[in-house]
């Protein structure tokens, strides 16, 4: 058996393990976003949205749907990989991988598979929930797939990066609570940047999540506040930079080997 076959089987094994983990602990992985997003659609979409009226010429509930989907994708990609990898570090079961011939890239791709599958699945579930409340068209399906994939890969890698350095469970909840959530809320999920004051517009444009949410909104509703090509380039750059950083950390054994 050559090394490529060994690495392929190692990847499939880790990917299968990560995906089955999602289903094994479904009350922690699949159920919470369903409840949270249903509440978002009910409160922001129905109760408040009906008073807000239209935003960028579409009903408010329709306007926030792509942002809520993206919010779920981002959070779930991040949380899946950070908690799974840190859990493996905590239980020392990560040593099963470190002593094996699986390469650094295979280990990373295995964990990414879990993050991507979970976040895409949650994205799909949230989309179905959105359809209960409002019709959400998909104007550019291929662009939508590209944005979802790049986003889930980026935030899976960001979760991995966090987990590499984490020493206790608190360390993997700090970033989602204090960085991801504020950036997502201020990233154009609930409001168009055109409706903000010039100062807030400037601040919002420094937030990478704005570009991700807006690119996704464009792929669904066909409306956008930003340059789509720039948003895709940003996502590709983010993926590449995070991949390189995570690879280097794992290759050098930072946070995993003594």
């Amino acid at each position: 058996m050559n090394n490529c076959q060994i690495q392929w089987i190692a990847f499939l094994t880790l990917a299968r393990k990560e995906v089955s983990r999602i289903f094994r602990i479904w009350p922690q992985t699949l159920l919470p976003p369903v409840i949270t997003m249903s509440l978002y659609f009910t409160i922001f979409g129905q109760f408040i949205g009906s008073r807000v009226g239209d935003m960028r010429a579409v009903p408010y509930v329709q306007y926030i749907a792509p942002g809520l989907i993206m919010m779920a994708v981002i959070n779930n990609a991040y949380m899946n990989v950070s908690s799974s990898f840190f859990g493996a570090k905590f239980s020392k079961s990560v040593e099963e991988l470190l002593i094996s011939p699986a390469t650094t890239s295979v280990i990373m791709l295995g964990y990414l598979a879990g993050g991507v599958v979970r976040s895409c699945m949650i994205g799909l579930i949230v989309y179905v929930i959105a359809l209960i409340f409002v019709h959400v068209p998909i104007s550019h399906p291929w662009l939508m797939l590209l944005v979802v994939l790049l986003t889930s890969i980026s935030f899976s890698l960001a979760g991995l990066f966090n987990a590499v350095f984490a020493k206790k469970f608190d360390d993997i909840s700090i970033i989602p609570t204090f960085v991801l959530t504020p950036l997502t809320y201020l990233g154009g999920v609930f409001v168009s940047v055109h409706n903000l004051s010039p100062t807030w517009q400037l601040i919002s444009k420094a937030n990478p999540i704005l570009y991700i949410v807006d690119a996704f909104r464009f792929s669904m509703l066909g409306i956008s506040d930003i340059n789509i090509k720039f948003a895709i380039a940003l996502l590709i750059g983010l993926c590449a930079a995070l991949y390189a950083m995570c690879w280097w950390l794992l290759y050098r054994g930072i946070g995993t080997r003594s």
């Binding site: 094994t13 880790l14 079961s93 040593e95 099963e96 991988l97 002593i99 011939p101 699986a102 003594s258």
Partner: protein
């Protein structure tokens, strides 16, 4: 095909804070050997094993396994090795079978073959009936056996066991010894660290003693034991001893039915038995006060 299973040359490891764990280790272990790596806590055994297995980054030096260099071909080196670490390092909520099949997969073993091997090793180690249980529910001894089964699923040529019988009851320990002896008889090289020196004495052919990050002894068990210049033997008598006199021997009467006699290298047991005979003392049984290897080990590391 190389005759050397493991070759370590000038291996150094310094942990952050300038803590030196290994200070230039040189070690050569032959293929098919059953080798004991002994040392007190913190001597450097686990660091050495960690470096070989890829869990610890070395500071400098060379490690090769079956002729493959750890720096140049880390994946080949890892494929040759099966590791049973000191601490439990599996996911506690995963089922036993899944832990083993996954580990095999990381080594490129197909799922079908991994399941077949899983059945073989779990049956041999008496864990087959626990295959669907989560690892958390296993007893300490079962967890140790699970780690052995897991380390064997990719059929490594070199098996490294770091304290495999720690906390395991004597009956189970003996059955694990038997299992390891069978593996060694099949041609596997086994490297064992243990605190139970009778374990090393019973199982291993060669030994290295590591102390303060250096190899202070590297020889065969037989050669090492032949260097024992004195041993203390406890004799239990048939009847209570009223009086005893053993000229030329250093002895302590433990109680009226047992006596501990220290026998120097040049002294003979026959002389001692003659003295017992002359004084009408009938010996019922005799045993070493401490394990012979233990005495040597303590002498060696205290000497250093």
């Amino acid at each position: 095909m190389t005759a050397t299973a493991l070759e370590i040359t000038d291996l150094y490891k310094t942990y952050p804070g300038n803590v030196s764990a290994l200070s230039g280790i040189n070690l050569s272990i032959q293929r098919g050997d059953f080798f004991a790596l002994l040392g007190a806590n913190g001597a450097g055994k686990s660091t050495t094993i960690g470096i070989i297995a890829g869990l610890v980054n070395k500071t400098s030096g060379q490690v090769s396994v079956l002729g493959d260099d750890l720096d140049r071909s880390p994946h080949l080196v890892k494929s040759h090795i099966g590791l049973v670490p000191q601490e439990f390092n599996f996911h506690p909520f995963e089922p036993v079978e899944q832990i083993i099949v996954n580990q095999a997969g990381y080594y490129g073993v197909s799922r079908k073959l991994a399941l077949a091997r899983c059945e073989t090793y779990l049956k041999q180690l008496g864990l087959w009936h626990k295959r669907h249980e989560s690892a958390l529910k296993l007893s300490g001894g079962m967890k140790r056996r699970l780690m052995i089964a897991r380390a064997l699923t990719h059929e490594p040529e070199v098996l490294i066991l770091d304290e495999p019988t720690a906390g395991v009851d004597i009956e189970l320990r003996r059955s694990m010894w038997q299992f390891l002896q069978t593996l060694n008889a099949d041609g596997r090289t086994i490297i064992l660290t243990t605190h139970y020196l009778e374990e090393a004495e019973s199982l291993c052919r060669n030994v290295a003693i590591i102390n303060q990050g250096k190899i202070v002894e590297n020889t065969s068990i037989a050669n090492l034991l032949s260097r024992l210049n004195q041993q203390t033997i406890i004799f239990d008598t048939e009847k209570p001893m009223m009086e005893v006199n053993l000229p030329g021997f250093h002895y302590d009467i433990i109680d009226e039915g047992s006596i501990a006699v220290t026998i120097a290298g040049e002294q003979r047991l026959n002389t001692l038995f003659d003295l017992f005979q002359q004084q009408a003392i009938q010996i019922r049984s005799m045993r070493n006060k401490t394990n012979r290897l233990e005495e040597l080990f303590l002498q060696r590391i205290t000497h250093e």
